[in-house]
Structures are given as structure tokens and as C-alpha cells.
Symmetry: C2
Subunit: 320 residues, 2 copies
Amino acid sequence: MDEFDFINSIKQPTYRQSSVIKGIGDDAAVIRQTTQDTVTAVDTFVEGVHFTNVTMEPFHIGYRAVAANVSDLAAMGATPAFYLVSIVIPSSWNKEELNQIYKGMHKMASIHNMDLIGGDTVSGKELTISVTVIGFADKDKARYRSHAAAGDIVFVTGTLGDSRAGLHILENPGTYKDTDYFLNRHRLPEHRVSFSEKLGSLKRVSLNDVSDGIANEANEIAEASKVSLHIEENSIPVSKQFYQFPDKLQYEWKLFGGEDFELLGTVPKHDWERVITAAEGTNTPVTKIGYVSNQTKSDVYIERDGRKKPLFKQGYTHLK
Amino acid sequence: MDEFDFINSIKQPTYRQSSVIKGIGDDAAVIRQTTQDTVTAVDTFVEGVHFTNVTMEPFHIGYRAVAANVSDLAAMGATPAFYLVSIVIPSSWNKEELNQIYKGMHKMASIHNMDLIGGDTVSGKELTISVTVIGFADKDKARYRSHAAAGDIVFVTGTLGDSRAGLHILENPGTYKDTDYFLNRHRLPEHRVSFSEKLGSLKRVSLNDVSDGIANEANEIAEASKVSLHIEENSIPVSKQFYQFPDKLQYEWKLFGGEDFELLGTVPKHDWERVITAAEGTNTPVTKIGYVSNQTKSDVYIERDGRKKPLFKQGYTHLK
């Protein structure tokens, strides 16, 4: 397979976004956007670290790689529009598998009419996919993690721990309930762009996407906003069949599991009704799980049966 | 070394670009730019493929990774402003080496007041650096490879083949003339942003940066513009001590060597004087090496002593 043929094979015949002036096919892509702010993030996905041939098929790899980035934009209150894909391809991957990866990316991207406008294709030993996503947010409406304030309600979308449960099932074959549900949550994660967009009219919302587990995300919001977050353990939403797993794993997964790509946020109490309305309008489950106080000794507390303890960061760290 | 500490250590304390609203420290970066077009590209650099510990020290790796992207923007007539770095780090790389990589990136970036506004840091087996660069170009002034027209002059900046000669010296230790010059051309490549910016007043210029050798770049311009390019072999500029290498290698390197990051372009004859002025104003050597004709049987011809033959693409292909 020739590199240039391959690039031609993944090039979109037309672009859906009106702001694209030049997509793939020159030294760089050109975008025109004069009314909104540009929001951008990059996320990298490595074979053997983020996935293996046991946990994901090629289609899932592509889908998940773009979904993680789309989720970052949702957490900023931005609408995704473009993506660039840098891929390192080992010789052991064949053309059909690569096509499946790009099909997964296109599938995810097409949900938001996103256009693939650039990339780089190189050889290497380890399949590595680095996706840069570009989107737009109304001026001064980007949702920062520094926007939480004392008195806010803490909420989360969807259910937590499901992606980690799906990974567990993949790595520990056996008989489980709702297996497909959990596998899909790991391989074809949802994202909350529509819900985040619907919050557009709210003056102040802090948002993080749950990529590293809510313990980590809650700490990031607390640190950036110089407040403390208090989370009621039993309020954390989990899926119907989550209870089939041992209690210890449930606790770990819902707090530290990560990769659920739900949104953790805070809003002033008087805006809570509008969050509910946004959730209903977009078919998004949303749950109140705690509150924000002035900064205290610890950044985040977890409460259960009236007992409170600090909740520290414990996300996966890539560097040891 | 903790991943989060590492990210903090590479975070800029302040940003130089006024268009940055949010840099590192949230789910994505936010940029405000309403008067110019946004230009973006990504380039990936893999240990064992693009460099080894024989050919580059950590500082060079970082410098070169950003330089390649900056060069892509120069080839679009855009001014670089931001970059995002996705890095895959094997456990064999220590903190000091990683700091040197980022020092190299910062060095290159600081030449253009570029800000590091995002990234991703993950573990893996192979050091892989993927840089996304974002810059700005005046509306409708991006320089496309599709803008060449019959009658144009073909020109190139600087000298060609030097980077490949530097690599040869690194891989074949011995006694050479101007060794440092050639090594620097490989490890600390120049880029032609200032020159490209000075061409801003010209109505039509086609540009490609010489990342894959001019044979390849000339073919890309010819294909995109539906014209033929005619290049005079003996006009191709080479450096003073390039003649120390065997004729066969000289020919290969100046046509197919790549990674010189010079600019290959075409302009209407009546604008040639203004190209010269831009070159003089930015201390950029520029050489006329041929002309553009209507499309003929082959896209690119190389001429020597009045004899002409087709010049085909022969750049490095990453996929076999």
C-alpha cells in the first residue's frame, strides 16, 4: 500500500462545514470563522496502552479516538467541526484494518458533520492515533473548570464506571448481565455535545468530561476554581446491572474508572431547573450528586451515610 | 516522574499571543481570531523512523518537530501562532531528556512568539511526537499549490540536499568539509516564514515546502495546478561544499533528499522582481530554477544540457 494512495482513500470527497476553505491536499488546512471562538484539543491513543486486539476492533479504535476529542469539546461548551488525524502505522496492520479504523472515525465524526481536514501518516512499531479536534463556541461562552463557585450544585450526566466494567468483561470472559451494553460503553462511548450546547444560555457553568474518573475531574474543578466539592457517594448514578460486580470494584470504577466521557459540572442553584430542561430536551440523564463550598482543607470530599472523607486524584498516570 | 507534574513543568507561565483566551489547563484551548483565516497542520516524528540517538540529540528532536510544522505554515503564507504537542514517552526516556526535547520545541517556537496551548502525554514503546500547529493568514491570501499557471517562474529558497547530506555525515562518520553546517541543516532546520510573509502583497503565488524533496513537491504543484513544471538541473542551488559528495548522491539528495524545509514556488513573471525584493528584505537566498508551461504529457521535467526527461515522485513513502 502506497502512503499517498492511502491518504487519497481517506480524503473526504466534499466538506460539510461551510467554514472550511481548504481541507486535505495542501501543506495545511484553512478555516474561516469570524463570529465564534475557536476551541482545540489533542488526544492520543496507543495500542497496548489504551487498547489491545482483545478490547477493541479496528472500527472501535477509530470511533473511540475521535469520541474522546469530541467529549473534550463538549466539556468546553463547544461544537466540534473539524479533526486532523496523525497515525503511526506498524507494518503488521493491513489496509482493510486501517480502513475500518477510519470508518470508525468517520462514523463518530459524521454525527456532528465534522470534516477531516488534515493529518500525517507515518510508519512505526506501535499503532498510535493522535486526533486534533477543532470546534467553535460562542464568544465568552466556553465552559471552564475554573467557573465553579460556592453554593453551586454538582451534577453528572449518564452513569459512571460502565466503560471500566466493559473493559473488565473483555479482559475476564464469563457470564455477565447486559454484556453488550457494557462493551459498547467501552468501545463506542457516548458524548454529551447536544446537552452541552443546550446549556448555552446559562451564564455560568463549570464543566469537565469524565475521561480520568470523577475523583480526578472533581479535583481539577476544585483546584481551578479554588473551592471544595462535596460528593454524595450514593448519589453517583450507575447503570441497572452495575450491581452485579463486587462492591469494591463498583466503588473503584465509578470514582476512578474513567473513559465514560460523561460530563461533570457545577451550576448555580437558581439555574438547576434549566439544566434539567436541557437534559430532557436532549434525552440526557442528569443527576445531582453534591454541592460546592468555599475552599476547605481538602479539594474534594466524598460522603456516605453522613461520614465524609477526602477524595484524592487517583487517575491513571502515564509516566511512572 | 508524575504525568501531571510533567505537564505542569512544560506549561508556559504566560502567553505571548493576544488571541489566546485559554491555553493549557482545561479540556481544550480557546482562541479568538476574527480578521484572519485560521491555518492548521499536523506533523509526526517517530524515533527509529525520523531520527535515532545517532542522528539527533533530544534538543534537536523538539526543535525539528516544531520546525517541520512551522515550515508547513510558511508554505501556506501563514504566520504561526500556536502549537499543541502530543507525545508518546517510553520508560527509557528520563526527565532531563524530555526537558531537552521541550527546550528544543520552545526555542523554535519562541522565534515566532508561538504559544504551547495544549497537548497529550501518554506512555508507549516508541518516542513519538505529534505537533499540531495553528497560524493565521490574511483572508484569501493562503498560498495553495494549485495556484501555479503557465508562464510562471519556478523558484526555490536556500540550497537543497543539505539536510540529507547532514544525515549522511551522521551515519557515515569521517572527515568532511563544513561538517557543522550540514549537521545543523539536518538537526536545526531553517524555515522561511519571514520570506513567505513578505510575499503577502503578491496576488498569486503557489508554494510548497520541501519536506519530501523537490521532485515530489514539484509534482504536487503541477498536479494541483494542472500545469507542467520544467526545472533546469544545474540551476538547483546547492551549498558551497556540497560538491565534496559523489555526483550520484548529489543528484539524489538535491532532488529527492527532503527535509530541507526550503520553499518551492511559482509566480507570474511580472512579480519576479517583488520576490527578489522580499528575499533581500529577509536575507533569504532565492533562485530561479525553471518555468511553468501548459500541461503536457508529464507533470515535471528536469533539463540538463538541453536534454529533458520526466521527473517523477520519489519521496519516502511510509507505507510499503
